[in-house]
Amino acid sequence: MTAAMIAARPGNMAGTDATEADAGRTAVPIDETGNELPATASAAKVEGGVKEKAGKSASPPAEPLAGRIGEWARAALRTVLPPLAGLALLIGIWHLATFGGGGIPGPGQTWDAAVALFSDPFYIDGPNDQGIGWNVLASLERVGIGFGIAALVGIPAGFLLGRFALLSQMLNPIISLLRPVSPLAWLPIGLLVFQRADPAATWTIFICSIWPMILNTAQGVTRVPQDYLNVARVLNLSEWKVFTRILFPAVLPYMLTGIRLSIGTAWLVIVAAEMLTGGVGIGFWVWDEWNNLKVEHIIIAIFVIGIVGLILEQMLMLVARRFSYENR
């Protein structure tokens, strides 16, 4: 989980890490060669190295304000420029690919359509013709409900599975069997049980969100360091105190990883589920626009889906970082 979080951190963090490592590396060769030189020479050399280092580290605070602002701007540029360049590249390729006409609209055409679309995102013209804002909100609502119920069921289930080995032995084969099944395969069951499209889509979200939450929570429980449990045993804490003071805080980061994974898949699945069930929702909207042959709207929808997914992910990352504690 920490690995995932580190990997997902913004690029500038990785940048500072690299420079620190470089600084360490430059210091090492001096020591190594120094060992082979006569003592006085090596001492002089090391001293030189230290001076050079001290000079370097002392310079930033002494620098004038303008210099520091310049440095800050350079750093900002370094983090902003590459993504912008990537985006420009994408749009450029898109432009070139659609230049000669064909079915797919180019960036300019799509932009114009987007401006028109977002000038009135919340209109309602009958049940099957609503603004894109309503469609996104409808999808988010389904994800929220399905995901919420999955959390209510999955997290306690994960705690039980992690705490009781027998239970996990009983249920793990079933989970392993069901987890790789595409959630869409569950859609007909939902339609059959609920007799309506809307809860069936929510049901699909529930199914796809629950596995990561169960498995990650259970893994977190089994990974609670024995040291912490020993503290609980020496103090002879009550079950409730063990849960609130040790188990829950120790498992929380794992739980949040499960939640993050679930919400990612849930957002993936809702689009497909809505294409099948119809109604109001971003997935259905995409399908509808395909039937209307408004391809530029489909492209807009792709961007909207991506951006909403990104925001969901970032929000949960923020929560995860808020609750992560430095270990040891």
Binding site: Y228, V234, L235, K241, R328
Partner: protein, 264 residues
């Protein structure tokens, strides 16, 4: 003769590892008397922590009998406080809350919140960390963490204090201060103490008996040294004391002469 508080009879401890059965301790026989201070000393990896965990009740012996207060040690309990070798503070609680958790467990039945907080504060003050109460474990140094661990154990006013190298990560001055504080507390509370240490001076200064373990695997008690120095003890006076020197020499002889050959 005072009462025996802990009795260890013919205790052995072995672990099942991937490479088969590993015998860590064998034939341990030791009676610990009420109010006594015992130092456990031996080379790294010989089984000192293993023995301490057995007394704490965190692990059960593979063979033999362990009694505390005449009853079999079935598990840990707050009357046997442990200072862990790796301090084992909960990283999501502040130093204050880490200690408070222990204080609350022991005294909440009889005392109000204000009194519990005062106890927590006093325990942290004792180890010189009143200023770091609101800090989290990752924000303080290794030595400070160890002191919070000591505060947590002392705050419980245990009958038996089990300490696994509690002063290992401390500088000489802090260590000396805490050693003196510890001796005062033990004298005042008449608590029993078992302390694992690597430090020969510390062993002699703090304990009534020094239990020396042979090298592992299958470590056992090699020698027991009766220190027999009057209390209260003054570290400065003892520095020139002939008997203190003899005790030191006896332990050194055991560690670095009798046991070193087997360690190599």
């Amino acid at each position: 003769m005072t009462k025996k508080i802990v009795q260890i009879e013919n205790v052995g401890q072995s672990f099942d590892t991937k490479k088969g059965r590993f015998v860590a301790l064998r034939d341990i026989d030791l009676d610990i008397h009420e109010g006594e201070s015992i130092a456990l000393i031996g080379h790294s990896g010989c089984g000192k922590s293993t023995l301490l965990n057995l007394i704490a009740g965190l692990t059960r012996p593979s063979s033999g009998v362990m009694l505390c207060g005449g009853r079999e040690i079935a598990g840990p309990g707050p009357e046997r406080a442990v200072v862990f070798q790796n301090h084992s503070l909960l990283p999501w609680l502040t130093c204050f809350d880490n200690v408070y958790l222990a204080v609350e467990r022991v005294f909440a039945a009889k005392e109000g919140k204000a009194s519990l907080k005062r106890r927590t504060h006093e325990a942290l003050e004792l180890v010189g960390l009143a200023h770091a109460e609101t800090k989290f474990p990752h924000e303080i140094s290794g030595g400070m963490k160890q002191r919070v661990g000591i505060a947590r154990a002392l705050s419980m006013q245990p009958r038996i204090l089990l300490m696994d190298e509690p002063f290992g990560a401390l500088d000489a001055l802090t260590r000396a201060n805490l050693q003196d504080e510890l001796m005062k507390i033990l004298a005042a509370t008449k608590a029993t103490m078992v302390m694992v240490t690597h430090d020969v001076d510390e062993a002699v200064l703090l304990s009534d008996r020094v239990v020396m373990l042979t090298n592992g695997p299958a470590a056992t008690i090699g020698e027991i040294l009766e220190v027999g120095i009057e209390r209260p003890r003054d570290r400065l006076a003892l520095a020139h004391d002939a008997h203190f020197g003899e005790c030191r020499a006896a332990i050194m002889e055991f560690l670095y002469h009798k046991q070193l050959k087997r360690a190599a």
